[in-house]
Symmetry: C2
Subunit: 303 residues, 2 copies
């Protein structure tokens, strides 16, 4: 079955852990269902915000199975499958495709730094050939601040030329609007998503497809509303709201901060648990964050 | 059985791949045996030079089993076991300890950057507690140019205080002698290894234990000779030779360059195979490297 291309707001869903640091499958399913009910176009599970690289392959596959068993359509799923080791990337990608996922979000292998475009082209190429499935749809994951291995404009061009039916999109988490704009200008057929909703309107106005953003774990409806109303006159005001919430969050360690907000929403302190090497906000940081959000008038419950 | 602490020259043994990119177990065993015959004190398999993070857990464990089945004593083995995902690090470490390996070389989790010492302490702490074996000996792997997640002096101190019988050593691949000197000064009981043989004599003269160095895959005997003769009058001349060979190699992508040299030595072009995202030297680069080594008079076969 041909896969349709994602458009709109996708959420790199947070992964809840129990106190023993095992993934909490039930809480994960509940949160993913809530995100879709709020209007998310899809779920980019196992991304950076999801602590995806802190999970082993079996954990990612089990969680994916649990979402599908919980009646989340794989047409809404874009799991992260890019790892340091080619066989693991192939395994996770094959699994996602076999379960009907509409796409995968693929990091380049990120252990070695300063690798060249030939090497990264070879990496993606090997994965595509080894997966060998006509339903495979790859969204490239450009996140140089974390992966430290960028996906250059030249590399995008080579991949699009060789695999035009497979490489269909990109998440740009560079945090650099000039870079996003260059991608949108040079590759207008690519489904490009900004990694921060601060650039959502700009992305859409330049022909982009939407945003895949951490903050959509908590400010879901408001971010989705910017996408829905992006051609309407009052949209800049909506953009200002989501930008302001993002700016508040940027004052804190992003994943622990989001987990604190979600923990309060579900009234489940266990939701604050992170896997090492991340650690939860301190009580002071949490108080400061909640205070700032309260003064701004943000609430996850009332959007 | 109490593990003895490593001292001398350890080799992060290169991992050979077949043309289909599977590890070549036989060629790996042959090379590891050769390295020990040349005088290496041990093998730090699955390090950076070994493309360790390009291997999945099963591949690392199978290769380790093959070495032991091939009569390499686990007392000579220090496999790399640090990954991004806590359960994988625990699994690999448990396996290594259960097979009697005298130590493990443990990277910090390296996907997230700018994590703090508390988080890294929690990471190592969880691994140590979950492995829960009195034979566990950890050598911390500080390689900020690649991992981008340093192991600070403060973190070393905390780990030594809490786990004095477990955290016994460190490989310093910072490339910064001032840092190595600071570690040696502050933690004289730690078995500290420089990551480049350029600092071998300096490391030994400041109370360090030796070197764990990529170049020992090819210049094994000469590097071991500096360790053996380090108190003798002619040793600076020996150090000059190994430094010069290292300097030549530093002009090329290190892992592919070493694989080219080893491929020539074993008369096996397949040895040049790397896993993406690394790629082999071009014919021109290889010619240039071999020319430079030849002019210097270096040969892997005649040391």
């Amino acid at each position: 079955m041909a896969q349709s291309i994602f458009r709109g707001v996708l959420v790199p869903a947070l992964t809840p852990f129990k106190k023993n640091l095992e993934p909490d499958t039930d809480a994960f399913l509940t949160h993913c269902q809530w995100l879709l009910q709020q209007g998310a176009a899809g779920l980019a599970v196992f991304g950076t915000t999801s602590e995806g690289n802190s999970l082993v392959a079996e954990e990612r596959m089990n969680l994916l199975e649990a979402l599908i068993a919980g009646d989340i359509s794989p047409a809404r799923l874009m799991p992260g499958t890019g790892t340091c080791a080619l066989p693991e990337t192939v395994r996770l990608t094959k699994h996602a495709v076999s379960r009907g996922c509409a796409g995968v979000l693929m990091l380049p292998p990120f252990y070695y730094k300063a690798v060249n475009d030939n090497a990264l082209f070879a990496s993606y190429s090997e994965v595509i050939q080894r997966v060998g499935h006509s339903d495979l749809r790859i969204y490239l994951y450009h996140i140089p601040p974390v992966a430290q291995v960028p996906i250059s404009l030249t590399l995008i061009g080579r991949l699009l030329k060789h695999y035009p039916d497979v490489v269909v999109g990109l998440k740009d988490s560079s945090g650099d609007w000039n870079h996003t704009e260059a991608v949108l200008r040079e590759y207008p057929t690519l489904a490009t998503f900004c990694g921060s909703e601060i650039f959502l309107l700009d992305t859409l106005r330049h022909g982009g497809s939407g945003s895949i953003t951490a903050t959509a774990n908590v400010n879901t409806k408001n971010i989705c509303a910017v996408f829905e109303h992006w051609k309407k006159p009052n949209v800049d005001q909506r953009q200002a709201q989501i930008t302001a919430v993002r700016r508040i969050l940027e004052g804190y360690a992003p994943i622990p901060a989001l987990k604190s907000i979600v923990a309060e929403f579900y009234e489940s302190p266990e939701w604050k648990t992170t896997r090492p090497p991340l650690n939860a906000l301190s009580t002071e940081e949490e108080k400061s964050l909640m205070g700032a959000l309260g003064r701004f008038g943000f609430s996850m419950a009332n959007q």
